[in-house]
């Protein structure tokens, strides 16, 4: 799947930038430093916006396109931020046959975002994940660490309302 690119303005803090600089300094002379730096940068920022990738390219003295190429190759890297509440809908086999696809569609419709995107206000992000090991509760979704199981499409508005209030 092609990586979604966030259009939400970058909100990095000076503290985060200091951390990123330290990460770059730590790996600067390592061969193949791009991947570990991207990984640690994602731990700091939660995702890898262009501003962060530029700092990495400049700091490691590698082309920006190389950094971007690596970040789009591996599925673990994300180019979109996580919202205050990250909704993760399980599309594993058990959940999927129990109708989690419809649940994902309902959330998409209500929030106006696709999977791997974040709402403009930064409140919700949506992830389509694979089996989270709760097949007995299928279909299942999580909001941050909260687990909701045995869902129907009609449960979606109630769940979302809990967090929009």
């Amino acid at each position: 799947m092609q990586k979604k690119i966030s259009k939400i303005p970058f909100k990095g803090t000076p503290e985060q930038e200091e951390q990123l600089k330290a990460i770059i300094a730590k790996h600067k002379d390592d061969p193949g430093a791009v991947m570990p730096v991207l990984q640690e940068a994602q731990d700091v920022y939660g995702y890898l916006p262009i501003e962060v990738q530029q700092m990495i390219a400049e700091g490691l003295n590698v082309p920006l396109e190389e950094v971007f190429g690596v970040s789009t190759f591996y599925s673990q890297f994300s180019l979109t931020p996580k919202g205050e509440y990250n909704i993760s809908v399980c599309l594993g086999t058990a959940c999927y046959v129990k109708g989690s696809g419809n649940i994902l569609n309902k959330i998409t419709e209500m929030l106006g975002i696709e999977a791997e995107e974040c709402t403009q206000d930064g409140k919700f992000s949506l992830t389509a994940c694979r089996c989270i090991g709760a097949c007995g509760l299928a279909p299942v979704l999580t909001v941050n660490d909260e687990v909701y199981g045995r869902l129907t499409v009609d449960d979606v508005p109630t769940i979302l309302n809990k967090y929009t209030a």
Partner: protein, 580 residues
């Protein structure tokens, strides 16, 4: 040299140790097809077109990167090999937009040629879901059509080799596309426009922005006076588009073809090169005398200029303020020549034929338009586009007689001609500087130390008591090495020539495209350069300042080199550009 013994298709053979199977097969006169392989630049063994069978090997191996070993038995043409190559081609074709009849690369497409040679019978065998990509037409010089891209990554390697690296492979698997970071358009990244990606592309995925129709339109407009100028390196390469051997100088036929195409005047950019030397040598001497910024670096190559603007803006004061020969020729056509002939410059359209895609960007730079919006040069076409025009006009190029440039701005010296090869501007400048500094005409005018296709060349000369240390770089990765030296204060040169493309303009991104199997085993840039140096050797005048047109131009119009009028018409400024 250590030799090892191998067998290819049953034939015993002794080849140098360390050879790849591809090279070893060549010694035996056996051709192995390749697609992604570009020697020294892209040796990734990815496309699987060159697979061969090796006795006792687990699977087929990629001949382009697989080294031979003692006793190895190789089979290059078994049924298994043939079937594998054909299937690979059919799979590539399933994602290739097969608009071959209207493709600019038709008949010069490596994919098309391989399909024919390897016997592909059904180009649609693996047709399936195939999402279309948007064409990138954002720049003035290049069009990328990823629907024709076969992901060989030769363009990526060429861009990397130029130290630019604005394109690469994004995403993964079926979604892989060659593009820029954050899916930006090429015009929005720090691409320098050199076009080395285009001449590396085996298919029609990358082409110059074709402006042949624009040129036909102005030729057909009776109101316009259309004047064409041709860069020094065109004559050394154009013949290749008409099946002539690499390194054939086709100057006379080229001029004849241009006249038959309907251009009103056919001038030589070599004249502008001579003029550049007058201004640049004068600028160099002035900088040395007055303690100006040294080393001074040449500014003829627009890809190099844009590279400096993006990547080394702090070094821009080192650039000579001289316009390039194309812009100087254009400026003189629309001022001196127009005045002399009594033509309204607004009616003149200057078309340049350049070995270069970056020249399309250069001619549109706002620095090169005056207050009335009159630009020095109006349309730039590449060598390939000129060949296309000649074919479209059904001119039998090979049968044309040799004709001469129009004399007004068509006479030039050997110094102007050698601009087309790396080291040529340096040598031309030295020829003039030596005469100026010694006050007498020097007889020894060949500076062999700055010739040749080596990436960086250095030399020192004593000219009339002054020691001059010079350096010449071609290819931007070599240029970057010199620039880092300047930045670190380690460069004690007075004068540096930099050409964007490896080998200089003869190997420019607008030149005829030679397929990889020719590029991998021949030094094209050296073969084309030879034609240029031969022309220089045979010209009666070989120093820019001895050209009668140049003399007349200064005495009747410009005044002194570096004088007020010269400055207005022939010099320019640069801008800082962003790297990201």
């Amino acid at each position: 040299m250590e030799m090892i013994n191998i067998k290819i298709n049953g034939m015993p053979l002794s080849v140098p140790a360390g050879s790849t199977i591809l090279e070893a097969a060549r010694y035996a006169g056996i051709n192995i097809p390749t697609l992604c392989f570009l020697k020294d630049i892209n040796e990734i063994g990815a496309c699987r077109m060159c697979v061969v069978e090796v006795k006792r090997a687990r699977s087929l191996v990629a001949a382009c990167v697989y080294p031979v070993s003692e006793g190895m038995e190789i089979f290059t043409n078994t049924k298994r090999v043939q079937d594998s190559r054909r299937t690979t081609l059919e799979l590539i074709l399933s994602k290739h937009k097969r608009k071959c009849l209207s493709c600019l690369r038709s008949e010069n497409c490596e994919l098309q040629k391989l399909c024919l040679e390897l016997g592909v019978e059904d180009e649609g065998r693996f047709d399936g879901a195939n999402p279309s990509c948007e064409k990138d037409e954002s720049t003035a010089y290049l069009v990328r059509d990823n629907d024709k891209c076969i992901l060989c990554k030769r363009c990526v390697a060429a861009c990397h080799n130029q130290y630019v690296s604005v394109i690469g492979a994004n995403n993964r698997g079926f979604d892989s596309v060659i593009g820029c970071a954050y899916e930006k358009k090429l015009a929005d990244v720090s691409c320098v426009g050199c076009g080395q990606c285009i001449v590396s592309c085996p298919t029609g995925a990358l082409t110059e922005r074709d402006q042949t129709n624009d040129v036909f339109d102005v030729i057909n407009d009776p109101e316009k006076i259309v004047i064409v100028q041709t860069a020094p390196s065109i004559r050394a390469a154009l013949g290749e588009c008409f099946d002539m051997p690499i390194g054939t100088n086709v100057k006379g036929k080229m001029v004849a073809a241009l006249k038959r195409l309907g251009f009103d005047k056919v001038f030589d950019t070599d004249f502008g090169a001579d003029l550049t030397i007058m201004e640049e040598a004068n600028e160099l001497i002035a900088r040395i005398k007055n303690g100006g910024k040294l080393p001074m670096i040449t500014s003829c190559s627009p890809g190099w200029v844009k590279f400096c603007e993006h990547y080394y803006p702090e070094l821009l004061p080192h650039l000579s303020s001289c316009k390039s020969p194309q812009q100087m020729t254009g400026a003189i056509i629309k001022s001196y020549y127009a005045e002399k002939e009594g033509i309204d410059p607004k009616k003149i359209v200057v078309v340049s034929v350049m070995p270069c895609t970056a020249k399309k960007f250069e001619c549109a730079r706002e620095e090169f338009a005056n207050e009335e919006g009159i630009t020095d040069v109006d349309i730039v076409i590449t060598t390939r586009e000129l060949a296309r025009m000649i074919k479209r006009a059904q001119i039998n190029f090979k049968d044309l007689p040799d004709e001469e440039f129009d004399p007004a701005l068509g006479l030039s010296t050997g110094a102007g001609v050698i601009f087309g090869a790396t080291g040529g501007v340096m040598e031309a400048a030295l020829r003039t500087a030596a005469d100026v500094l010694t006050g007498e005409s020097q007889e020894n005018i060949e500076y062999h130390e700055v010739r040749g296709t080596k990436g960086i060349k250095e030399a020192s000369y004593n000219l009339g008591g002054a020691d001059i240390k010079v350096a010449v770089a071609s290819g931007l990765s070599n240029a970057a090495k010199l620039l880092e030296m300047i930045k670190n204060g380690e460069a004690d040169y007075q004068f540096i020539e930099i050409m964007c493309c490896p080998g200089g303009c003869v190997n420019g991104g607008g030149q005829p495209i030679q397929p990889a199997n020719v590029r991998n085993f021949n030094d094209i840039k050296a073969m084309r350069a030879k034609a240029i140096y031969e022309e220089d050797r045979n010209l009666p005048l070989r120093k820019s300042h001895e050209s009668p047109i140049i003399k007349e131009l200064y005495s009747t119009y410009l005044g002194e080199p570096g004088g007020h009028r010269a400055h207005e018409l022939l010099h320019t400024t640069y801008v800082e550009r962003k790297k990201y």
